[in-house]
């Protein structure tokens, strides 16, 4: 049964599935969107601030979106999109072979959103690597469909 905006309360938490990142994944994303030496070349990466070949921060953000999308779909929550990210921090580099997962906490909600027919959920999202170190943390506002019987008063 679908869970609409009005069915979700602040305090609710979701844990996501795992996503592994290969060297090939890192190189492919970097070649298309972020062709800098520390995302493309192991030797240059070792001499860089990151200390090794690592994923573009924007790829990590995109993987976060995939983990979040899959977790909410599993709950049958109709996601209408993301409207904002008030704050996002890249905490640690993500290296080839790392496995990521995320924890999502609902912090608040509002009955309106940028898209008609949707309400907003304010979420805290933390993505961890396999050593349970945070690699990215963000606060975000997500749009969720209002059910037919939504009490938006």
């Amino acid at each position: 049964m679908p869970r609409y905006w009005q069915d979700i309360q602040p305090g609710e938490q979701f844990t996501t599935a795992l996503a592994s990142l290969s060297k090939q994944d890192i190189l492919e994303f970097a070649a298309e969107f972020d062709p800098q030496p520390y995302h493309l070349d192991s030797e240059a990466a070792e001499a860089s601030i990151f200390g090794g070949l690592c994923a573009s921060g924007w790829q990590v953000s995109a993987i976060m979106m995939r983990l979040l999308t899959d977790a909410l779909h599993q709950q049958e929550i109709p996601v209408i999109g993301m409207s904002s990210v008030p704050k996002m921090r890249w905490k640690k580099p993500v290296f080839a072979g790392d496995t990521l997962s995320a924890e999502i906490t609902v912090k608040g909600r509002e009955a309106t959103a940028r898209q008609p027919g949707a309400g907003s959920l304010d979420l805290d999202v933390r993505v961890f690597n396999q050593a349970q170190e945070p690699v990215i943390e963000l606060a975000t506002r997500l749009m969720i469909a209002l059910g037919a019987n939504a009490n938006v008063a």
Binding site: T69, G81, W90
Partner: protein
Amino acid sequence: MSLKPYIRSRWFEDIPIGEFHVFGSHTFSELEAIEFGRRYSPEIYHTDPTGAWDTPYRGLVICGWHLTATWMKLMVGYMENFASGVQDGRRNGAGMGVEDLEWYLPVRPGHTITFTYEVTEKPERVVRNRWGIIRSRNEAFNQYGDRVMSFTIDILAERNPAGAG
């Protein structure tokens, strides 16, 4: 004398607040929208041109993270172009974090998005004894001149070991 400002090779101290650049434009194709959506945000409104008509967007829209990744692509291309010939290059690059990222309007396949960048602040903080922070305001506009996205990002720039000149 070269007229090219070697943007990537400058020290933190040499990057002025108020500097403004237009990184360029990108026209999103339906195919690239669907590929990105399938991989990172598998929603009908990103992946299925027919099914997307029955969603609130009434058609395919570009994933917001595809827009930010494209901002990165155009920034790197722009900076590398200006930095061509610089061997020691790249005194800056790594991103720390983002604030106030907003997606205002749907972007659709066929739309042409133009990305702008302005240095707004140089916070005093020194990172690992070596790096300064360049804070910039970034905006993206569609072909009608409507703003579709904006954000602030902190990017590291190496400080001049000799100190400010």
